[in-house]
């Protein structure tokens, strides 16, 4: 056994995040660690890599007890990892991000680097060669000198894996590597992970919500729920395991009645949208709430949008889908006036929005729920929500909004006083949506609300989105999960390489054979 956890326990302020978990990871295996959101998977990774110290039990790697070792020492011992919320070094170039991970293999010390001794040059040369090889493997050679933040989300994830591989690890921990990747990329990931294991002869442990990836690549799977082990076995065993089905997919006895109740709720208005101190956005009859005409956006010489035109009618849910890097997030950001537009028109309820600032847009009733959630981790849930109503002064209206949001997401109500950073990924997404709703938007821009979230919670979040729409809010939805996006929306646009490739009613698109080709860029 290479990695072994025995009776590991970790509590945060009375809350047991991991309780008495024992895991044996066989050497050179590809091992899956799965479970619903908040199950404690990332905490287990943080315990292995020394970011947190466990309260009880032991973690050993290749026979060495990891207790008492600092994160950097654990990295030296041969354990590399990636992060759920990508942690690249933003101010360093792509290739520099990789080179940093070579520090521990360097023989030249600082003095010899300052003297520029032959040893220093030999080190740099060897490091750069390794980096070049990995950049090639992960398809980043062309962008070696670019800042990592300019890459699309999926590429950033692969860059993190490449950086981890620079350590020449014996054990690679991947925290949701497929989050933010489309189907094609996720399939590619399966091949890449297998290739990595075989080529570099290492053990891989991955935390992942994408079941296709987990079942496709893992040889053994360990399932956690609420910090405790509920199952362990081969993919085939796990798929049939009743406890896993219950925990993961929510197949409990109450489900039927819940579904009925939801059905009723979905049609009822749950939010108060009008605001006493704001003129409502009222496009003339038959005119769109939002209209983009031939919008072009480019940054740093790269053209991200090449003339995009689309319309969103009042009270409509419109989905914007497409592969990674197609320009979906750019489109949303340009509507939210977070990015300057090179040319074209953006109209809100018939009036040009190009001269407006982001604050203006929020005040006018347009809110963005950003990709990756961007909540304020060190503020409480309540404070996060209150900040969403920052532009409003009417205490009564704020209290009402707060009431509405809690009704929409009862989970947030239970966690009002908690720091937002301690919420699970799914709860953070609820908070991000709730925060946007606190401004009482009439047009809600949603960027990847299902990103990195367990299926059960995704369902809840999309139900909530339906209810928001039923309350009279117009929604423009960017979503990686095509099936879900098409099932939720009335109409959809498919972006490919910065252009609209396909558009139509969602139900038609879902059956369109061209769809797959357009989406996968074939």
């Amino acid at each position: 056994m290479e990695l072994s956890l025995a009776h590991v326990t970790k509590t945060f302020g009375g809350l047991r995040a991991v309780g008495d978990v024992s895991i044996e990871v066989p050497s050179k295996s590809i091992f899956g660690l799965i479970g619903p959101n908040g199950a404690g998977k990332t905490t287990v990774f943080n315990l292995i890599t020394g970011v947190y110290k466990h309260d009880a039990g032991s973690i050993t790697f290749g026979g060495t007890d990891l207790r008492g070792l600092r994160p950097a020492q654990i990295a030296r011992a041969g354990i590399a990892r990636t992060f759920q919320n990508i942690r690249l070094f933003g101010q360093l170039s792509v290739v520099e991000n990789l080179l940093v991970a070579c520090e521990l293999h360097k023989r030249a010390n600082l003095a010899s680097s300052v003297m520029r001794t032959p040893l220093h040059h030999a080190d740099e040369h060897a490091m750069r060669e390794r980096a070049a090889r990995l950049l090639d493997v992960f398809g980043h050679t062309r962008v070696a000198d670019a800042p990592p933040t300019s890459l699309p989300y999926g590429s950033q994830r692969r860059l993190e894996i490449a950086r981890a591989m620079m350590l020449e690890p014996k054990l690679l921990l991947l925290d949701e590597p497929a989050a933010g990747m489309n189907h094609g990329e996720a399939d590619g990931l399966v091949t890449q992970v297998r290739w990595l294991r075989d080529e570099f002869d290492l053990t891989v442990v991955l935390v992942e919500h994408n079941m296709k990836v987990v079942m496709g690549v893992c040889e053994e799977i360990h399932v956690l729920d609420h910090g405790e082990t509920i199952a362990h076995g081969t993919p085939a065993e796990i798929r049939e395991h009743p406890k896993v089905l219950a925990a993961y997919l929510g197949k409990d006895t109450n489900q039927a009645s819940d579904a009925e109740a939801d059905e009723e709720n979905a049609t009822a208005s749950i939010l108060r949208v009008a605001h006493p101190s704001r003129a409502p956005l009222a496009p003339i009859a038959g005119a769109p709430m939002l209209r983009l005409e031939d919008v072009r956006v480019s940054y740093g010489g790269v053209v991200a949008l090449k003339g995009v035109s689309l319309e969103v009618m009042p009270r409509e849910i419109v989905a914007l889908i497409g592969a990674n890097g197609a320009g979906k997030t750019t489109a949303l950001k340009s509507v939210a006036r977070l990015l300057p537009v090179t040319s074209g028109k953006i109209e809100l309820a018939g009036a040009s929005a190009l001269g407006r600032s982001t604050e203006d847009m929020v005040a006018a009733g347009v809110s963005l729920v950003p990709e990756g959630r961007s909540i304020f981790p060190n503020l409480t849930v309540l404070e996060n929500l209150e900040l969403g109503a920052y532009l409003h002064r009417d205490a009564k209206a704020i209290a009402e909004s707060l009431e509405d949001v809690t009704r929409l997401f009862p989970r947030l109500g239970e966690r009002m006083k908690q720091d937002a950073g301690t919420l699970s990924g799914g709860e953070q997404q609820m908070l991000a949506i709730g925060r946007a709703l606190m401004a009482r938007p009439q047009l809600l821009l949603l960027d990847e609300p299902s990103l990195g979230i367990a299926p059960k919670l995704v369902e809840q979040i999309f139900e909530a989105i339906q209810r928001v729409a039923a309350s009279g809010v117009t929604i423009l939805l960017v979503e990686q999960n095509t099936r879900l996006a098409l099932a939720t929306s009335q109409r959809a646009y498919v972006l490919r390489a910065g252009e609209i490739a396909l558009a139509g009613a969602s139900a038609d698109l879902a059956r369109d054979p061209e769809m797959q080709a357009a989406y996968l860029g074939g």
């Binding site: 970011v51 940093v100 521990l104």
Partner: protein, 365 residues
């Protein structure tokens, strides 16, 4: 490689020529002082840039390290000069005195850099800034008040034992009035242009190489994301403390040169190392661009000359006339307002400073 040696030789010839020729070329000693001060300030900025720019820590107590360097260097120089029999300050003799002075300055300052660097492991942002500020003020106040301690009016026992001894030792530094050698005859100013400009050039190269080495890269990564840096084997403890030591050694050298610089003042006073000095150092780094070596150098030169420009402006007839009109007008005090204005405008237009993290003359990797 060949080119490097050639450039080194040219620089060597130039600084040698300056050492002997500067007096003849520039007869106004205040201009010579200004040029030398600019070079010293480049060192101040380069060293602070390691902590504030590359490592992303925020130190506002750089003056403390300058003070330690200045006093150490002044003590060694003055006493060594005595030991060598006094007499004339020769170029040949400076090869004994200056290295000894600067090595002690660097050692003392570096040691304190290590001590101050330790809390940086637990403290971040404003909290660390307060620690560094406290350190600088302690250094300054200890030197300033040591004299008062031993000359207490009650006559004698101002503490007794170890602390009394320490106070007596410290009181030799002259307290508020400053240190001017063991017999108060002034510190022999051994460091001519050869040393000042030569070291500025040499340490500039060192700073550049630190930034463009794996070590500098690791430091910048640490600044971006500590957890991610640790996960790839960059130990925050080691890198942060080392960056503090390196910055302190650099500041020690700068302070050391400041104390014994030809055409400078032959006395080291604690007031030169008040918060103002730390603030000037931060201004240099931020103006030039945090993290940029060439930027720090430009910032150092700019700040030095701005002081002079304002002084010159003081003596123009227009300002004199104004002064007669408004008696309390003091342009030196106004300098702070001008700085603040320049900084605010710069931060509004270019929040990353003149160069940001980039460098002049940077090769494409």
């Amino acid at each position: 490689m060949r080119r490097g040696i050639l450039i080194g030789l040219v620089v060597l010839v130039v600084v040698l020529a300056l050492d002997f020729g500067l007096e003849r070329a520039i007869t106004d000693s205040s201009i010579r002082q200004l040029l030398m001060l600019a070079a010293v300030n480049v060192l101040v900025a380069l060293s602070l840039n390691v902590i504030n720019g590359m490592a992303g820590q925020f130190s506002i107590g750089h003056a403390g390290f300058l003070a330690l360097g200045a006093y150490a260097s002044a003590l060694v120089t003055a006493n060594l000069h005595e030991a060598l029999g006094g007499g004339e300050i020769t170029f040949a003799r400076s090869f004994i005195v200056v290295p000894a002075a600067l090595v002690s300055a660097a050692a003392v300052s570096g040691l304190f850099g290590f001590v101050v660097g330790l809390p940086s492991l637990r403290l971040k942002g404003d909290y660390l800034a307060i620690v560094t500020l406290g350190f600088a003020e302690i250094v300054r106040l200890v030197v300033t008040t040591a004299q008062i301690q031993t000359q207490s009016p009650t006559g004698g026992d101002a503490g007794g034992g170890f602390f009394h001894g320490l106070a007596v030792l410290l009181s030799k530094l002259g307290g508020q009035n400053g240190y001017a050698g063991p017999r108060n005859a002034g510190i022999p100013l051994y460091a001519g242009p050869f040393w000042v400009f030569g070291l500025a050039a040499l340490l500039g190269v060192v700073a550049w190489r630190i930034k463009f080495s794996g070590w500098g890269r690791a430091l910048r990564a640490l600044r971006e994301d500590e957890i991610a840096a640790a996960s790839v084997g960059v130990d925050p403890t080691r890198y942060k403390v080392t960056s503090f030591v390196i910055a302190a050694v650099g500041a020690g050298l700068a302070g050391g040169l400041m104390a014994i610089m030809r055409d400078g003042t032959p006395i080291v006073q604690p007031d030169s190392f008040a918060f103002q000095a730390s603030f000037d150092a931060i201004t240099m780094v931020i103006l030039g661009g945090s993290g940029s070596v060439t930027g720090a150098a430009i910032g150092g030169i700019f700040v030095t000359f701005s002081v002079k420009v304002i002084e010159l402006a003081q003596s123009t007839s227009a300002v004199q006339a104004l002064k007669r009109e408004f008696e309390s007008l003091d342009l030196n005090a106004l300098r702070m307002i001008i700085y603040a204005a320049v900084l605010i405008v710069l931060m509004a237009l270019r929040p990353e400073g003149l160069l940001g993290e980039r460098e002049l003359f940077q090769k494409k990797a």
